[in-house]
């Protein structure tokens, strides 16, 4: 009998193009996604060395980080450096002949939303991008992770990556979720339990009934934040839902090739008895809607809780919590539901998909954004935006008082005009609450789309279960 393998082992083994004596491998890359911030120097490197993109047909470029999301963006990007980065991508994509979705294309959007949407991401693949949230694509049972600029150039030139294998970790979410609890709450709760370094050196496989029950959108939300737990990548074994999602997408296989692919994809699961180096089990029933109170994604608590005291932590974390409470303008013992919010941001590669907009719109239907608040929805792609308009979600958002934006990273990071001002407090569906992430001295509370919508209505962090 052959040794039982994990899902990660299987995908890894299927992509080793060369192995050196010391275990260093050349891992073959099936899909390379490219955005404007981490790629210019890589393309420049190719030019200087007189090299080509080895597999332009496997390379997909889309601008997202620097792109303005206001309706008037066709008139161009004001910030000169941002404009130059986007123009450079434009030129590089055309010069090297890779697939490209320019700002003017309705399919443009956040790279991690566009990839799956267009059928570029498929089960069993290796997917890389010069961006840490590449982990998102693991939801399809694809080995997907972020890489640095030198590695972007390496993949462009050779379609491989120099890699050593990570360890296996299993995160099982048992049983069912309670009402009002979403994929975002799962992924934040896991980070709360393991810490931001808990996954360092590992590839995580998420499994269990609660994960099986999630839609593909929800699974992408879970895998998206694997990186915030320190892991190299997150994986979920493909199943009928995965195949259903992929079927008929523009770049998914068709006809006989489809049948052949599905046959192979069905072999992508962790064998009975396969070895994991670390196992975490969480009961789905124990997960509540959560919010972050600090400046690390591990600073997470159920919405019914209160801001913790620094003294309740240990070691270096005591000082870190003092610093983050000071930065966040919070005091120990304050109830989380007493925290007043200035701004609500719904979007990002964590929660910018159609299901996220539906969840938020459901809470907002017939309600208004609290007076004096700023609230915006930034769909993850032009196609998500179009679908939301068709389903009438856009009207619900607009009637409630939300700004209805064009697709991009927007206020997930402060690299475009959408930024928090000093001291501004935001309930955000994005993935990082680091100091300055959404703007200089801006304050971020990470939440699910439904929780963000609830906060928009009441003006405070709110337990969404009271509104359903």
């Amino acid at each position: 009998m052959t040794t039982p393998k994990t899902l990660y082992d299987k995908i890894w083994d299927a992509h080793v193009a060369h192995e050196a004596d010391d275990g260093t491998c050349l891992l073959y890359i099936d899909r390379h996604l490219v955005h404007e911030v981490t790629s210019p120097q890589a393309f420049e490197g190719l030019r200087l060395a007189g090299r080509n993109v080895r597999a332009p047909e496997k390379t997909i470029a889309v601008p997202d980080h620097n792109v303005p999301t206001t309706i008037d963006r066709e008139s161009g990007i004001d910030n000169e450096e941002s404009r130059i980065q986007v123009e450079a991508l434009d030129k590089n994509a055309r010069d090297f002949g890779v697939h490209y979705y320019p700002v003017s294309d309705i399919r443009q959007g956040i790279v991690h939303i566009v990839g799956p949407e267009q059928g570029w991401t498929l089960p069993g693949m290796t997917v890389v991008c010069g961006d840490s949230h590449t982990a998102t694509h693991g939801a399809f049972g694809a080995l997907a992770h972020g890489i640095g600029t030198s590695e972007v150039e390496h993949v462009l030139a050779t379609q491989t990556l120099i890699q050593k294998k990570s360890k296996n970790m299993k995160v099982e979410i048992k049983g069912k979720l309670r009402p009002g609890v979403t994929a975002k709450d799962i992924t934040l709760s896991v980070i709360g339990a393991t810490g931001t370094a808990g996954g360092t050196g590992y590839v995580i496989e998420y499994c269990g009934e609660a994960i099986r029950d999630l839609s593909m959108e929800g699974r992408m939300t879970v895998c998206n934040m694997a990186i915030e737990g320190g892991a190299r990548a997150g994986l979920i074994a493909p199943d009928e839902k995965t195949f259903e999602y992929c079927k008929g997408r523009p770049h998914a296989p068709k006809g006989a090739a489809w049948e052949q692919a599905v046959e192979y994809w069905k072999s992508l699961f962790t064998d009975e008895g396969a070895h994991f180096d670390k196992v975490i089990e969480i009961d789905g029933e124990d997960i509540a809607p959560v919010v972050t109170w600090g400046t690390s994604p591990e600073d997470v608590l159920p919405i019914t809780d209160s801001v913790p005291a620094p003294e309740s932590f240990q070691g270096g974390k005591v000082e870190a919590v003092k610093r983050s409470l000071d930065y966040m303008g919070l005091s120990a013992g304050q109830k989380l539901t007493d925290i007043k919010i200035d701004t609500v941001f719904i979007g990002s590669c964590t929660n910018g998909r159609i299901e996220d907009l539906r969840a938020a719109a459901k809470i907002l239907e017939g309600k208004k954004v609290k007076d004096g608040m700023r609230a915006m929805v930034v769909p993850g792609s032009g196609l998500v935006r179009a679908q939301a308009e068709e389903e009438g979600l856009a009207d619900i958002f607009k009637d409630a008082g939300f700004e209805w934006r064009l697709a991009g990273c927007s206020m997930c990071l402060a690299m475009n005009p959408d930024q928090l001002s000093e001291g501004e407090r935001c309930a955000s569906t994005s993935n990082r609450n680091f100091e300055g992430r959404q703007g200089y001295k801006g304050r971020t509370h990470l939440v699910s789309p439904a929780m963000a919508a609830a906060a928009a209505v009441t003006g405070y962090l709110t337990d969404v279960r009271e509104m359903i």
């Binding site: 120097q41 030198s150 050779t158 120099i162």
Partner: protein
Amino acid sequence: MDKFEKFSGIAAPMPLVNIDTDMIIPKQFLKTIKRSGLGVNAFAEMRYNSDGSEVGDFVLNKSAYREASILVAGDNFGCGSSREHAPWALSDFGIKVVVSTSFADIFFNNCFKNGMLPIILPEEQVEILMNDAEKGSNARMEVDLEAQTITSSDGSVFSFDVDPFKKHCLLNGLDDIGLTMEKSSSIEAFEKKLEIERPWL
């Protein structure tokens, strides 16, 4: 990547410890689309006043050191953020070698990826070279990677260690990409296999 040849050059003294990558290249220069051209921004906040004029007593602004190709630096050089812009900036300025008692890990590896040689020497030897570097532009040091030696202007020779594989890559101008390309037959074979086993890709 260019081959790393034996050379003699001017060494600039930077005795400060913990020179981090934020000092080497401040974050406002990360929005660039080039890895070249960062040399003028190297050490920007130490090197220029807020009005853009040069800080006179910063070492690389002194006429003796404008052409420096070696830095002799304090402990723990290159700590902080992992930005690859740091070695890019130094290399673009013309620095080929940094000598110190210790380096931050990521910076150390990034140097090799960009054709630069970080040399680790014991404290007393770094001190001798630091004093030698203080002498200015007439004091040229010689670096011979093949022989693994650095020679001060008065002829004292110091040997250093270097990972044999990294040495091989530097001497032959092989970057990771160049090395991987040597294995292109493996990659081609893999792609052929892929076409048969998973043709939908």
